[in-house]
Symmetry: C2
């Protein structure tokens, strides 16, 4: 998606350690007009495929998913919650996710009553790198017995293994921008042709 | 706002300790159509007042704020981030907020470059009870030298002191539903006439 790539080129900051900062429009300051265009693009890319619900994960995925929902007929959005405490009454799906960014594991939960077996779920998130967060969401989808229509990602780091692995497993993955390389010394960012 | 009050009456769950669970449509499963109607209602209530930016706080405020932004000309949304680590390089506004729900304090930060002195900010959040989170956001606004146009809240607990205090301090506060009383024994919820 050219508009997103252009914003990454003009405002993205490359840091050591494979860090790409895009907080001026994607995940701290939210450009809601860009979000709207991203939602329209995912609707085009997933046209004709069933979407009953969008699943995302707090915090950065929520705004993107909620704005995108309008382009899928205002379907509900469910966001997985990060939590320190796990409710043991069996009312929640839960999974453990490793954060490379923060160097630790955390738990996410989704209340069981908000995922209905058989329904068609589109997963949306802001970033895909190693795929840890997405694998957690996919585990929850499997536990819930929902059907994953596809995965919509804003920015994929194509030089990290998450995207390749998900495509090999047969998921319909649509990343609006795939960064194939980035250089903290020069700031140069190269995108995959799509 | 009758649509929101009706949803609270039909799906809200009152628990001991002044807890009102509305996670089936407001802050875990997100009814994006309701969010859109809430945004339209805030646009009506703040009509003619300047709004350059919306400020909210992770996580539950983000989706509501990003959908509402469409009704204010797709202004950007900035969300305050909860954080364990404070960047000491002076690039962030920061404040400490007490959570009665979780019985502890936490820090929130906003990058300084995302608030511009003199701009007009509308604050949006899902809940107002004691006002701790809002007071933290207001402190950040004061530190940043921005002008607070008003505060849009989905559900105010009118029997707790946050809303009264903010109105007495002169803020233009618009809560779409104000719960004046709720009874965990009977489940009965009473709204303030608006």
């Amino acid at each position: 998606m050219k508009e997103l790539e252009d914003r990454i080129l003009s405002e993205g900051i490359v840091r050591e350690g494979d860090v790409l900062k895009v907080d001026s429009f994607l995940n701290h300051r939210c450009d809601t007009q860009l979000y709207d265009h991203m939602g329209a693009e995912w609707a085009r890319l997933f046209a004709g495929e069933p979407v009953d619900k969008i699943l995302t994960i707090e915090a950065s995925g929520i705004g993107i998913a909620c704005v995108a929902a309008r382009h899928f007929g205002n379907v509900p959005v469910v966001f997985a919650r990060k939590t320190e405490s796990i409710n043991l009454d069996g009312s929640q799906y839960r999974t453990q996710i490793h954060s490379y960014t923060h160097g630790r594991d955390y738990h996410v939960i989704v209340a069981k009553r908000f995922l209905t077996p058989g329904e068609h779920v589109l997963i949306i998130d802001d970033f895909l790198a190693n795929g840890c967060a997405l694998n957690g969401l996919l585990q929850i989808c499997e536990d819930a017995g929902v059907s994953v229509t596809g995965i919509g990602i804003a920015v994929e780091k194509g030089f990290q293994p998450g995207g390749k692995s998900l495509r090999e497993r047969g998921y319909h993955l649509e990343s609006l921008a795939i960064v194939d390389s980035m250089d903290p010394a020069t700031g140069k960012i190269t995108f995959r042709e799509q």
